[in-house]
Amino acid sequence: MMEVKQQLKRPLRVQETDPPKPIKVKLPARARMFIFPLLVIGILILILLELGVGTVAIDVNGVVSALFGLESADPTHSTIINELRMPRTIAAGIGGAALGTAGLQLQTMFRNPLAGPWALGLTAGAQLGVALVVTSAAVVGSSFLEKFEILSNLGIVAGAMLGCLLVLLLMVSIARYVSTITLLILGLMLGYFAQGLISAILHFTNQSQAKVFAGWNDGSFAGVYWEHFPVLIPLAIIGLISGWLMAKPLNAFLLGENYARALGMSIKRTRIITLGSAVLLAAPVTAYCGPVLFLGLIIPHLARGLFSTSDHRILIPAVMLLGCLVAMAADLFVHLPWERHFLHLNAVNALIGAPVVMWVLLRSRKMRTFEL
């Protein structure tokens, strides 16, 4: 024993008389908690801007009086805020939070830094589902669905969820046989394929409906109205809460499946709940806002960069707030009082998103060299 002990550079301190000095660990994430209140303040400011800025400019007083139904409120302003800008702002907030969270969940579960609802083809699956529901409604007779507005509302979401779920199951089943990059290419190809199918389907529907669908297909938070929230909000809340509850297992998952299992985590349960939550988050947003590109992919990276951690207990609330913030900012940019309205949400998303994706690709050795 003595001999062994002498050989050790640092002798073990297990049972020695002097108690070991406690290790002081300064984790960057803990020093960055002040970012959370800043994000909340940022969101509040953006809400005011979203409600006030547009082709009709409304000052803060006007926004507040319209919001609280004060007598001084201008009735036109109240209508604009309550019927147009308010639902759009809420949709952007929920959409950003939902897509950001889904992106984080997919990146961790697939162990793929460029995973996201759009990159894996989930958005395309949802789009296809919606297209099928809309055209079948046209074939069956839209009067049937229009009679039960809530039913058509639910039908679209159900179509989106089903499409999204099918693509996800496909991706999960092939993920173990293909490399990270191949999976992403498959996801993108699936997206193009779905677009092709959607065009083919729309070919058989009537023109007015196709026009509505084409508008939706551009992706925008402006197409969401109050009547959509009874479906959108509960689903998003269930998704966000179940996602948050999985923070601990997701952390274990960072060590890889085998280590996670050896720590007592149930792989199957974690996978079902997390991926289920990702579908609940991505599909309804796609159903109402159309395909919103890039957000799900880049928000988790921005959150990791801001907080300098992969700890999901910090990242999940971070992606929710950051998603909310970025989506509102992008939406605000689209709805600034431009002279001409050619700017689309996805164009803005691509302007922020594509550089982030390139940065991730170039920074990670694994992604850069195309090997695993």
Partner: protein, 333 residues
Amino acid sequence: MDSVLDLRELSIGYSLKSGNKVVAENITETLRKGELVCLLGPNGAGKSTLIRTISASQKPLLGQVFLDRKDIFQIAARQLATKLSLVLTERVHGGMLSSYEVVGLGRYPYTGWSGKLKAKDHEVIQWAITTVGAEELAERMISELSDGERQKIMVAKALAQETEVMILDEITAFLDLPRRIEVMQLMRQLAKRENKCILMSTHDMELALKYSDKLWLLPKNGKLAIGAPEDLVLNGTFAKAFESEGIHFDMQKGAFESQEPYQQKVQLMGAGNELLWTKKAMERARIEVVPDTTLSVSVTRTREGMSWQVSSGKLNKETNSIYELLQTIKEYE
């Protein structure tokens, strides 16, 4: 005595459609606290299968594994994680987690749904990090560590699980020799001081011979041989297990030697370490050292340094290094 893990008539392998593929069968063995057991065997003999079966990651074909007298497959995953910890060969990526947080994940089975660490958990984590001597690594991101440092952290993670059994699967595979020795010493210390039951599979035959209390030798025929390292050497099991691999176990040296035939003969004279290392050089160059032959080498140490005098009937040359000496002998041929 403190037996923790009991294997009873265990057969391991895979069940395929065409029938069972048996890797090893009829293993009955007990693992005790305070012992370091090394599992050795050629590649493909099924070391990993055995480790997976014992750690409840894979069902046995027949027989049972008992942990504290309970069938290991009946123990809930979370409870099992408080009794048995694993360290694997695979490289952990871990994204932007710090080493401290990774070791903290060892507290997974003890924390609530949110994974919040209490004061007691932090104490255990600090103890684990200090025990493996990784204090300087605690703040660094796991993805920035070298292979050796990362394995140290994974051992600390296993320690933080506070289990009586630790199973390690070829964790020294990517490490250089000093790191491998360090790991072996650490494992031995943990077994002795912490009274842990440690099973590690390894390719380091010589280190395993030196450090383990017991060897498990799994040859390709699937008949697991068990005993103190010296027992297995003396009864020839050790040599036999690796014979098929084309290497020869030299019982006197306790090391593996190549079996290439000797090319030349030489007579050696001298003393001390100079003689010892010249002999080693001859062995390596496949030159047989014999008591009496025409070619002779005498090693001398003078104040200026060492010199090697090569002499035979027609040759008489002095060299100043072993490298030169070997060249000279080769040319003599």
